[in-house]
């Protein structure tokens, strides 16, 4: 009945390693989203969740096979479902998919990314259009403290109970994964985590014992491998999941911008003819003035995505816009 990852029966050494990495001390200043909530904030969150819930819950599905029960979410009117790789396991496998209104259809597993636990599943061609939700493509804009809500079928599909809602905040953002305090359990796997606009920002993946230790696959692994997964490809190499790489180092300059210190060989930056001494003012129209912000914006985007830089070449006066296609981080 349960398809989910549990830590209890795994060797203890794994717990230590993972927790040590994951809960390292904060290095940066707090983002503006991670402030304490006021009563008014709580009321606003309630209002927003309730406003988008009926739309969001229609896109939630339960996924069943002979051996397990899990969740998923429809993200396209043609019936494309996002779920977790440990739910589908195998390309081409057929699953019983239960829709929000209790109807049952057959779903077919498409490609999956074992390295990040991302997977896709296809519903049959719809009579009109499947109810669906949008995904949030601005993965780099997620910040700790963002309010979010989880839907799923914990314990498996229950007709009388229906979907189960949890409301919470993002705790930590990694390039491929999110941690939240929306409490999950077995059966939630593959279900959606939403922002308060009702856009999918994560897919439930695994839990640890603690109530705040609920992990979701971010949208980056899906976006990075969208077409490949739709073509039934299986992605095994976790290095592909390390986020976007541009291949340059920066330093803050005196004029609220960044200056490029070095450009790596055979990097996207080199291919875009960026050079040491060039100044970067904006990324996708957003000003950047701290090297750490710049590297985060890049790292949280999927490889393959194009970012637009506003650059002042060394010795020039005028800025110009430059498109750079991010690549996977090299193996070393």
């Amino acid at each position: 009945m349960f398809v989910f990852q549990f830590i209890r029966r795994r060797p203890a050494v794994w717990c230590l390693v993972a927790l040590g990495t994951f809960f390292s001390p904060a290095l940066n200043a707090a983002a503006d989203t991670d402030k304490p909530a006021t009563l008014r904030d709580l009321q606003q969150v309630q209002k927003k969740v309730q406003a988008v819930l009926s739309m969001a819950e229609k896109a939630l599905v339960a996924i069943e096979s002979g051996s397990g029960a899990a969740s998923g979410v429809i993200v396209h009117p043609d019936g494309l479902v996002l779920t977790a790789a440990h739910v589908t396991m195998e390309v081409g496998h057929k699953y019983k998919v239960i829709l929000h209104d209790g109807r049952t259809v057959e779903g077919t597993a498409l490609g999956l990314d074992n390295s990040t636990d991302a997977a896709m599943l296809q519903l049959p061609a719809p009579a009109t259009a499947w109810p669906y939700v949008s995904i949030n493509r601005e993965t780099h804009q997620l910040k700790p403290g963002l309010w979010c809500f989880a839907l799923g079928h914990p314990g498996g599909y229950d007709k009388d109970r229906g979907r189960v809602l949890r409301v919470g905040r993002l705790i930590k953002i990694a390039s491929n994964m999110l941690q939240s305090d929306c409490v999950l359990m077995a059966g939630d796997s593959g279900g959606p985590l939403f922002n308060l606009n009702g856009e999918v920002i994560g897919i439930h993946s695994q839990i640890w014992q603690g109530r705040d230790q609920n992990l979701h696959v971010g949208m980056a692994p899906f976006l990075r491998s969208w077409d490949a997964m739709k073509r039934n490809e299986v992605i095994h190499t976790w290095a592909q999941g390390s986020g976007g790489w541009i291949g340059l180092s920066t330093a803050a300059d005196d004029n609220d911008g960044l200056s490029i210190r070095a450009v790596a060989k055979e990097s996207p930056a080199e291919r875009a003819a960026l050079k040491a001494g060039d100044r970067i003012l904006k990324v996708n129209n957003v000003s950047v003035s701290a090297p750490v912000d710049f590297s985060e914006i890049i790292r949280r985007r999927p490889a393959g995505e194009i970012v637009t830089l506003e650059v002042v070449p060394a010795g020039a006066e005028q800025s110009r816009r430059l498109d750079v296609k991010l690549s996977p981080r090299p193996a070393d």
Binding site: F2, V3, F4, Q5, F6, R8, R9, R10, W14, V17, A18, T21, F22, F23, S24, A26, L27, N28, A30, D34, A37, L42, Q46, V49, Q50, H86, M89, T116, D117, P144, F149, P154, D160, R161, G162, V164, L165, R166, V167, G168, R169, I171, K172, I173, A174, S175, M177, D181, V183, M185, A186, S205, Q206, Q209, G210, R211, W238, G241, G243, E296
Partner: protein
């Protein structure tokens, strides 16, 4: 199904046990490294949904809530939540959970304790109505039903009413059918003539808590000999969640004895392999309720019997079962108001005649 009622659900429980183990290995090795590229910012614990700074917003509501919550138990350090219903000392608690806190006294917020009289132990709603001889108590406001809908914030007291917790109404209001009660064991082939062989003991189950182990041979229940799986099932099924049965068994030939507090079958089956991560355990009775509202406030079994409020401070129900990591059931006011008012009225009439 009739001849071996235990074996079927237990077998299905074992099936997902092995599925989990297989998936665990695969997934674990693959997923962990993704955190090596993690952003280092972490939402401070105080600012999380159930962190201190968030809960500070509810300080006023909490003060009000505390005035109507008392504790039921034999000593102050082991108590169950109980809720004051009237100024003259009628108090309600969760009946099946209260059995393990006997003998009962009520501990008040001012530090004093007071003896109780049992007015009614109601199996249908799993409620225990008690009376203390005390006037001027602060009762909850339960005169009218307060509408709730999914996504609405709710809050309850926890930790002997020293703390408050927050969560939302999370699923449809509905009835929860009866699943029967179990020990939490998978019985072996029905071959032993002198008893019933235990093949497997479920994690966190009544049997495990009582110390039963695989390969124990159960020879009697409450002093009556058992000689078949069916017989053991019938004897257990005649009881209710929260009841205690005395088992005599043979372990490697040596006799042993233990008391097992029976639990709802659905609760044991859902958590057969102990993967529930409920953080604080689950109630012994988690089903057979005429109507519940479902919320996700992180509570523990000893918090059941407390009132659940909206964040405006209105009572919406009474917590009745901690079910799993993401689920608590509460009885809405509309379900318990009429019967409780009737029981109180009858008790008052009876007392005034005496």
């Amino acid at each position: 199904m009739m001849t071996k009622p235990f074996s079927q659900p237990a077998a299905s429980a074992c099936r997902y046990f092995s599925v989990l183990a297989a998936m665990g290995t695969l997934y674990f090795q693959a997923a962990l490294p993704s955190f090596s590229h993690a952003d280092d910012r972490v939402l401070p614990a105080d600012n999380r949904t159930n962190g201190e700074s968030t809960l500070d917003n509810l300080a006023q509501v909490m003060e009000k809530m505390r005035q109507s919550q008392v504790a039921l138990g034999k000593s102050r350090d082991a108590t169950l939540a109980a809720t004051v219903l009237s100024e003259d000392g009628y108090i309600i608690a969760k009946a099946s959970e209260a059995q393990q806190f006997k003998p009962w006294k009520i501990f008040l917020q001012d530090g004093s304790d007071i003896k109780v009289r049992i007015v009614r132990n109601d199996h249908e709603l799993d409620l225990l109505l008690l009376k203390v001889e005390r006037q001027g108590m602060q009762a909850i406001e339960w005169g009218q039903s307060i509408a709730v809908q999914a996504g609405q914030w709710l809050c309850s007291l926890t930790g002997s009413s020293r703390e408050i917790r927050l969560g939302v109404l999370s699923a449809r209001t509905r009835d929860i059918p009866d699943s029967g009660v179990v020990l939490g064991v998978l019985m072996g082939a029905d071959e032993a003539e002198d008893g019933v062989l235990i093949e497997e003991v479920a994690e966190d189950s009544p049997a495990q808590i009582a110390g039963l182990q695989a390969n124990d041979l159960v020879v009697s229940v409450d002093g009556k000999k058992v000689t078949s799986n069916r017989m053991l099932n019938q004897m257990v099924n005649a009881r209710r969640a929260g009841d205690v049965v005395k088992l005599n068994y043979l372990r490697e030939g040596s006799p042993g004895e233990c008391e097992v507090r029976l639990a709802s079958r659905s609760r044991v089956m859902m958590n057969w392999a102990g993967e529930d991560f409920a953080n604080g355990g689950t109630s012994v009775r988690t089903d057979n309720f005429p109507e519940i509202i479902q919320h996700e406030i992180p509570l523990i079994p000893a918090d059941m019997g407390s009132a659940v409020y909206n964040i405006e401070g209105q009572v919406v129900g009474l917590n009745i079962a901690r079910v799993n990591r993401v689920t608590t059931f509460a009885l809405p006011i509309s379900v318990f108001r009429e019967p409780i008012e009737k029981w109180i009225k009858e008790d008052r009439e009876k007392k005034s005649r005496q």
